[in-house]
């Protein structure tokens, strides 16, 4: 038996032509106003921007990107040469001072773990804040999905300008149902 959610899950693939509706799905689609509305929406979003001249020239973009990458690659070794020079100079000064220190004076400087600590490298890829849904198991996600069958209140939709605020409310509604 075909239901709205199954149809909804397959809409993007049908839109791009990689799969086709089954006979049962087509029957459902002709009878269900909500699915027809969503089907129209998905097709419109799939085409969004196709008729607008966004002025994107891939060849020009490539040239500029590669040019910037080459410039960035050149800049890094220069910084490294400068840093190596500075390190060598510092080492020379340290060696001279070490030689001139009178006998009997402790020469070793305690190197603590803290002084060796380095800032961990930033994550290679910026990540989105972890949404509340990530920690839910399949049953809990199904409950959330089912709670979505309740109609949204207009004021909820209009208020939800922030990030996951409505999702939190939906989750709470799902758990309390």
């Amino acid at each position: 038996m075909t239901n709205c959610r199954q149809l909804s899950d397959r809409m993007p693939e049908v839109t791009r032509g990689s799969v086709r509706w089954t006979a049962a799905e087509e029957r459902h689609l002709t009878r269900c106003d909500d699915c027809q509305h969503e089907w129209d929406l998905v097709r419109r979003v799939a085409r969004l921007g196709m008729d607008v001249d966004l002025g994107v020239n891939p060849a020009a973009v490539t040239d500029r990107v590669l040019g910037r990458l080459r410039a960035a690659d050149v800049a890094v070794p220069r910084r490294r040469v400068w840093a190596a020079g500075a390190l060598a100079a510092a080492a020379s000064v340290a060696l001279v001072l070490w030689v001139k220190v009178p006998a009997g004076t402790p020469r070793a400087v305690a190197v603590t773990q803290e002084s060796l600590a380095v800032t961990p490298p930033a994550a290679a890829q910026p990540r989105l804040p972890v949404p509340e849904l990530d920690g839910l198991n399949a049953d809990q996600l199904r409950m959330v999905m089912e709670s979505m069958d309740q109609p949204f209140r207009a004021d909820e939709v209009l208020e939800s300008s922030g990030w996951s605020d409505l999702e939190s409310r939906d989750l709470e509604a799902g758990f309390s149902s």
């Binding site: 979003v45 490539t62 590669l66 890829q125 999702e167």
Partner: protein
């Protein structure tokens, strides 16, 4: 080598080996979809090309950050989404942002074009009013041709959660555009 038949991972490997033609092919392959994603997410047409350029620049500089479990396209969409968010934050500090009308090309049926333009503007406003994660999941699915596993890998979430976000987005858009 005919590059247009090479997979994205193959092109990435070729670029890492120094073949700049592979980079050109990756841009040719993904720039149009990236442009539509940015436009659908609220970018102005005039800023789309710069954002695409910055997206590829960052992507090529840290290809090590691309996990093969996400498609390259969904990874690029994620970078572009981050850039757009930063751009909007910067602009918000300067002035109020709105989805501006772009100039309509003179066509045979101005009335029909105006209607289509208004419908498109409503659709974009609906998309930009969604929470970011819902919008990105929805666009990755509909425009980025990604499945829930790829989307989950790109956005650092689970496939089940990505599916819930998709259905939230669809439901909200239907309510907003009814």
């Amino acid at each position: 080598m005919v590059l247009d038949s090479v997979t994205d991972p193959g092109l990435v490997a070729a670029y890492r080996d120094g073949d700049e033609r592979a980079a050109a092919e990756l841009v040719r392959r993904h720039a149009p979809a990236l442009g539509r994603f940015l436009y659908s997410s609220g970018a102005q047409p005039s800023e789309v090309e710069d954002l695409i350029q910055e997206t590829f620049f960052r992507a090529f500089r840290r290809l090590d950050g691309w996990r093969g479990s996400a498609s390259l396209r969904s990874w690029l969409f994620t970078i572009a989404g981050n850039l757009l968010r930063d751009e909007h934050r910067k602009r918000k500090r300067r002035h109020v942002v709105s989805i501006a009308d772009y100039e309509l090309a003179g066509g045979a049926d101005p009335e029909a074009e105006l209607t289509a333009h208004e419908a498109e503007t409503r659709l974009r406003k609906g998309l930009t009013s969604l929470p970011r994660l819902q919008r990105e999941v929805f666009l990755l699915r509909v425009q980025g041709e990604s499945d829930y596993e790829e989307i989950a890998a790109a956005l650092g979430t689970t496939p089940g959660a990505a599916r819930v976000h998709y259905h939230h987005a669809a439901k909200r858009l239907k309510e907003l555009l009814r």
